[in-house]
């Protein structure tokens, strides 16, 4: 076909498929503009970084479980990280500080965030709202290809003299302002540059997502018929849009302090260390909601579908998402209760923090309500989604302790905080990611993941995960501080040695167990049972198209008649009723079709 004929064909095909012409391999798989391919690109790169982050944690746990002992196999690491001694290679404190920093940085920015926002945002938003792609496909490509050099810089920072950043993922000033304090020179700057580039990647992604959701919804897809996964990603995108610029500003100010002698945060030239904390956490608290809201959205999708029951209180769920997004801006000071800021602010931030517990509680009760009198199928995605709910309950409740300012005096900067954050980020976000990947895998690859292997992976992960992180509450209550290379230097912490070792051994087991998921994932891409359009009998729009969907997604513009959670509806012969199925009769209470002014074909909304 000549170019002109292709153009005519496309024009006639009013917004339909564009698979007439051959896209060269490099345009389809490398510099892709199709949102589904970009989603996969984010997924593969992020899963790689998830493994890197896990490896870093494994090394940290070795030092904590066996302080000062030579680490097996560490001889391959350079002397800057592991000191050679006659008995073997011993971890250096500066490398431990880098491990702590880079584990947090890589997990948050290069694993969890791109999985939730890059993978699920890209995969789900256009499909769930009935669009053929994102509003700006080339901007979408740019978003991914900015994340890649950011990741490479972050990894490269391990190889430079002085090693990778070592001031914590929070990079507090003045520690982070000079290698004189940390022993890290270029590595700290690479950290800043990498995150600034990644920030731009996230920003343009957010612009894309917001525009797409507002403008490209199919007819009938009103705001309150949007599935909760897309709703959560929409609110998340707004948070990204508003929060990332503050982070970028702070990162650049710190870079200037490190390199050209400015004094934003350096007290020796009149700067204010607390300014860094305010800027960082003003971004940082919305950031943690960026890390949990999409997970909540995914959980709602899977829970409702696998329980064959409408989500309990859909409107409240949307309102809760928006409330969390809004309240998330006024709680940042709860990270700074002990920072030296005015204690009066401690009280105001405590009140707002107590308030933000409410919408999260609403969501939790609503998930429980969804399970009440349901018909629960314990498939692998459901197991992970249920895990999200039960682990998020623990993570959320532990947050109450630190929200109380006097109790926070005791538990701040201890392992109680480490336990809390891992319950919400691993117990929460990561289990939701497992739920999402196992649930939408057939849509991405046209094949199911192996169910028995998935169940084994789930059970072992769930057990080992709790054995690793639940005892950390106790370590914190006994006074064990965070980011500490050798806690046995403190007499009062020496009795905690056995528990640290216990945690370390189960951490190794937890990390090893993930090989099951890696194997299942790759094996299933090639050998998994072939999946049809809608293996989960779901209502949302992505399940009305083939698995995987063709370029352009929908052969015809879909029309939406009802909300996304019409499971076990009396209007359906089956226990599900897709959003795009025309209603059997005329208007009814649950068909979502308003009283018609007579139209030629009564079904068009």
């Amino acid at each position: 076909m000549s170019t002109t004929e292709k153009d005519i064909a496309s024009a006639v095909d009013a917004g339909g498929q564009h698979d007439h012409h051959e896209i060269p391999w490099i345009r389809k798989y490398v510099f892709a503009t199709d949102h589904k391919m970009i989603a996969k690109q984010f997924m593969f790169v992020s899963l790689f970084f998830l493994v890197v982050g896990g490896a870093l944690a494994g090394m940290m746990r070795f030092q904590l479980g066996f302080p000062g002992q030579p680490m097996p196999g560490a001889g391959i690491l350079p002397d800057a990280m592991m000191a050679p001694t006659p008995n073997g290679a011993i971890m250096l404190p500066e490398f431990y500080n880098s491990l702590v920093t880079m584990h947090g940085t890589i997990m948050i920015f290069f694993a969890i965030m791109p999985l939730l926002v890059g993978l699920f945002g890209n995969l789900l938003i256009p499909l769930q709202i009935g669009a053929e792609d994102m509003a700006f496909p080339r901007l979408n490509m740019a978003s991914f290809w900015l994340a890649v050099p950011a990741g490479m810089l972050m990894l490269a920072s391990f190889a430079v003299e002085g090693g990778a950043a070592g001031a914590g993922w929070t990079s507090y000033a003045p520690l982070s302002t000079s290698g004189e304090w940390t022993g890290v020179y270029l590595g700290q700057q690479l950290w800043l540059v990498s995150l600034t580039i990644l920030g731009f990647s996230s920003l343009i992604g957010a612009v894309n997502y917001i525009t797409t959701v507002i403008n490209l919804r199919a007819p009938g897809m009103t705001w309150f018929r949007i599935p909760l996964a897309t709703w959560s990603l929409f609110v998340t995108a707004v948070l990204i849009l508003l929060a990332i610029p503050i982070l970028a500003g702070a990162l650049i100010m710190l870079l200037f302090d490190q390199t050209i002698g400015t004094g934003f945060f350096r007290p020796e030239v009149g700067g204010e260390p607390l300014l860094w904390q305010h800027l960082f956490w003003f971004f940082g608290h919305p950031e943690v909601y960026i890390l949990i809201l999409p997970a909540m959205g995914i959980t709602s999708e899977v829970l409702s579908n696998r329980a064959r029951k409408p989500i309990f209180g859909y409107h409240s769920m949307v309102l809760a998402l928006i409330s969390i997004g809004f309240l998330g801006w006024i709680v940042w000071g709860h990270h700074m209760f002990q920072s030296g800021m005015n204690p009066l602010l401690g009280t105001s931030f405590m009140i707002s923090t107590m308030a933000i517990a409410v919408p999260s509680a609403i969501k939790t009760f609503n998930w429980l309500g969804t399970l009440w009198k349901a018909d629960i199928h314990f498939d692998v995605p459901m197991l992970h989604a249920l895990s999200f709910v039960s682990m998020f309950i623990i993570g959320g409740l532990s947050g109450i302790f630190m929200a109380s300012t006097p109790v926070d005096i005791y538990i701040h900067d201890t392992y109680f905080i480490v336990a809390h954050l891992h319950y919400v980020l691993f117990g929460g976000s990561l289990f939701a990611i497992f739920a999402g990947i196992t649930y939408w895998f057939p849509k991405m690859f046209g094949r199911m993941m192996n169910e028995p292997l998935g169940k084994v992976h789930f059970v072992l992960t769930f057990i080992f995960y709790n054995l690793v992180f639940f005892p950390m509450h106790n370590l914190g209550l006994q006074g064990m501080m965070r980011r500490i290379y050798d806690f046995t230097q403190y007499d009062f912490l020496q009795p905690l040695q056995p528990m640290n070792q216990f945690i370390t051994l189960f951490a190794f087991a937890l990390i090893t167990t993930q090989l099951l998921f890696v194997f299942n994932f790759f094996w299933s891409i090639f050998k998994g049972e072939k999946a049809g359009n809608n293996p989960w009998k779901s209502n949302t729009l992505e399940w009305t198209v083939p698995s995987p969907p063709p370029h352009g997604n929908f052969a015809e513009m879909p029309t939406v008649f009802r909300g996304p959670y019409e499971y076990s509806s009396p209007e359906s012969d089956d226990d599900f009723l897709p959003q795009t199925t025309p209603p059997r009769e005329g208007p009814g209470p649950s068909s979502g079709v308003p009283e018609p002014t007579p139209t030629p074909e009564g079904a068009e909304a």
Partner: protein
Amino acid sequence: MTWSDWSWVLPEAFSTFSDDVDMIYYVILWVTGIIFVITEGVLIYFLVRYRHKEGRKATYDHGSSKLEIVWTTATLVVCLALGIVSKGVWDTMKIDVPEGAMEIIVTAQQFEWHVTYPGPDGALGTADDFEVLNQIHAAVDEPVWIHLRATDVLHSLFLPEMRVKQDAVPGKDIPVWFEATATGEYTIGCAELCGIGHTTMNGTLTIHTAADFQAWATAQAQRPRPRP
């Protein structure tokens, strides 16, 4: 490892406000513990009771606004109550330094605690001040007002048995106070990552009887100072 490693009972504390702090902790522990048992219990019950069986059909139900209002209000009330209870103790610990407290300066730096005492004249900043490293000494039942400073990076003065924690910020002078209720030797720790030697910033807090403290302070003041 023993069963006690898994205990959520706090280690003992020995200051005038530690009972209040610990009480709030236990209230929160009970409240969250009960909520935990109920919610997880309900979850497990639902999973068992409503699991898929041949012929089972879910109830077509979209929720209940009334129920939502009830549990939203209950959650809000409980959370705000905990906040209100906490405020008084927080103000006491962070703002209301008692009259007549013994003033000392604790200066944190990589990787030592420099503790400056006022000396026999009782006033800081005079020639008879003396300094000790990685130790704080005080008398039992007497309030101590620490002027917390730092010279280089952030540190955090952590006195676990007194339930004291406060970040030390270069360029600031932050008030920290406590009144010990039992003699003994306790822990000083650093609770904010401060560099390579963060792990070595441990010290000893010694609470003496009033007489012993006087003896210690006098002996220290008379100790030959390092020649300048």
